[in-house]
Symmetry: C2
Subunit: 369 residues, 2 copies
């Protein structure tokens, strides 16, 4: 497949780590929240195997923060998500679908509770800050909303624990999943969470002090030599196998969280007030009409740049593939697809056209592994 | 300068024209409103000369529409912009800075008044739809807000008038600048405006019927042969020479419209209610502290991927370059820069470092040509 270069400009911001990853061999970018996000360092498959066995450092500065603080900050944050945050604790991360009044997804961030009246919304690719500002202004909420100078470094892979222990000490290995705390390095305190967009384990370092963060970047590679460290980025194969959903790819504003299998983050039996609550109750009453499922396709390669129809024996469209990749584990193409009712059952078969050839596929549960 | 490829996915949507422009030789993309926007067809300079003398068709589907309709639509649209729209007319386009309650820019769209209670906001690169939804929900406005299926084709260049006349007849040449009307082609009515992101003249076709739009795309190239038509895209040289500001490049949420020279779109002496009105009055009272200006630099090349400091003889930062390009017309680098007070005067000199060499530059008025 022919490749095209990415044009550079201030509008698609570089990150503090861009010059480093370019020296380290980044080969492709995507954009994320108006910023460069590395998308490949050579072979996707090599990076997949490396990630599952070693440790990688990812420049994921594109995962921007929306900081909301002030007297009404809790009210505003709760208004935006269908997950009940009334019992949320300072020092914890919460995966939260953000939806509008029609229950359409707007983002699926991790929300960090920094204080009783201070939150970071660590966003997927859409301008949540504009939604928050609009709601705050319209509701006359007493809040401050801005994008702080935070550029996340993710440290991912099974050897990330040993590596981070060498730099930050034993305490960092005792942190629970989706917990966060502050750790000192080179004259600055860094918020570090046990989180990240892979299922191989690891951390996300919320770098506010750029100078210290760059020193930490170099330190990770220096200490990481013995763990076979490499620069990396979110890996399409690993994230699909693990069913880590991607906003904009697998779901968007035309989908609701129930269609996307996010039921456990939809808390309707609570007193808290959030947008789309009545709409979600209606949807549950009527039942959903489609569902995000896994698919396995008897093909050896695929490149998804838009939805691809899934059709049945009668050439009827029964769903659409939204993400897909060749999995070296399954030796087939795997993907994430939105299937229409009643076709979203496991083992449902379909046909799909890839590069003008037709292939057979089957619906399955998520995650794959 | 090394180039990097752009990774493809559903999150960065293709346009209906993507397969055509790839056959026609697009070489680079950027992204715009979560969509692919062509950024080069080979040489930037060749495209610049061609655009100034002939006619080009641009795939600018990334310029998405936010449709706002309903009883309170006028109130919501006015709330978002500091330009007085109380005398706006159906069938006209309006360039409108969108600002928040702190007078920070959120976008600088062209707003089309489709009916007394129906508007399209033709946006630059930020999710204005989320701001509009937040404001509408918070204010309990009676409006419908969605992104319609509109994929703009721009026809730009001095020969665009002759070309469009051949396809749509004499009437289209009589349309005034920033007017729009409906024109039939291949079974569909297309909204066509006399507008576009160049100063070389031309039209924007708001394609809603994709099938007819694709037929029109092919027709433009067929009829356009005699006018030396080529596929193209917004041209960095032409747009900087003409001082067409780019949101995200030349200005962003940290800037207000008065700093960006958009004074004539700031209407404070009216009764209409919009966000940031009091803040803008305050700013006018205190005076602005910096201003967007043109700069000319004694250099032969530049690539701007983030702000570059402008310094004075004492190594004091007096401003920052935000966009820049080598201009074959001036035989120098020209650019758009934010200059601090009191350095934003014409003929102010500065130094700038480009690829580790230092160059001399001078502040000038916009536009260049």
């Amino acid at each position: 497949m022919k490749t095209y270069s990415i044009a550079r400009s201030r509008r698609i911001r570089s990150t503090p780590y861009t010059s480093r990853i370019e020296k380290q061999g980044v080969t492709a970018y995507t954009t994320y929240n108006h910023m460069l996000l590395p998308a490949a360092f050579g072979s996707l498959e090599d990076a997949y195997h490396h990630l599952k066995e070693n440790v990688q450092v990812w420049d994921v500065a594109g995962e921007r923060q929306v900081e909301i603080s002030g007297k009404d900050s809790g009210k505003l944050v709760q208004l935006m998500t269908c997950r009940d945050l009334s019992k949320s604790k300072v020092g914890r991360c919460y995966y939260c679908p953000i939806i509008d009044d029609k229950a359409g997804l707007i983002n699926d961030p991790v929300i960090l509770k920094l204080g009783e009246e201070r939150w970071w919304i660590s966003i997927a690719d859409s301008d949540v800050i504009l939604f928050a500002k609009g709601l705050a202004i319209g509701n006359k909420f007493d809040v401050k909303i801005f994008e702080p100078n935070v550029d996340i470094l993710a440290v991912q892979g099974p050897k990330s624990f040993k590596l981070m222990e060498k730099i930050f000490g034993k305490k960092i290995t005792e942190m629970k999943f989706f917990g966060f705390d502050y750790f000192e390095f080179s004259g600055a305190n860094h918020l570090i969470a046990r989180s990240g967009w892979s299922k191989q384990g690891g951390y996300e370092i919320y770098v506010e002090n750029t100078k210290s963060g760059l020193a930490l970047y170099d330190k990770l590679f220096e200490v990481g030599k013995e763990f076979n460290i490499k620069p990396g980025c979110p890996n399409l194969i690993e994230r699909i196998e693990s069913a880590l959903l991607s906003y904009g790819n697998d779901m968007d504003n035309d989908d609701n969280p129930l269609e996307c299998g996010l039921d456990k983050y939809v808390n309707l039996e609570t007193e808290v007030n959030f947008l789309g609550k009545e709409k979600l109750k209606e949807i549950i009453k009527m039942g959903i009409n489609r569902k995000l499922m896994g698919v396995i396709i008897d093909a050896k390669e695929i490149s998804v740049s838009k939805s691809i129809d899934l059709i049945d024996d009668k050439n009827l469209k029964i769903g659409e593939l939204r993400s897909g990749v060749y999995s070296p584990h399954f030796k087939k193409v795997i993907g994430i697809a939105m299937l229409e009712k009643p076709y979203y059952e496991v083992s449902q078969t379909f046909k799909i056209s890839i590069n003008d050839s037709t292939f057979e596929g089957k619906v399955c549960d998520l995650p794959f592994i």
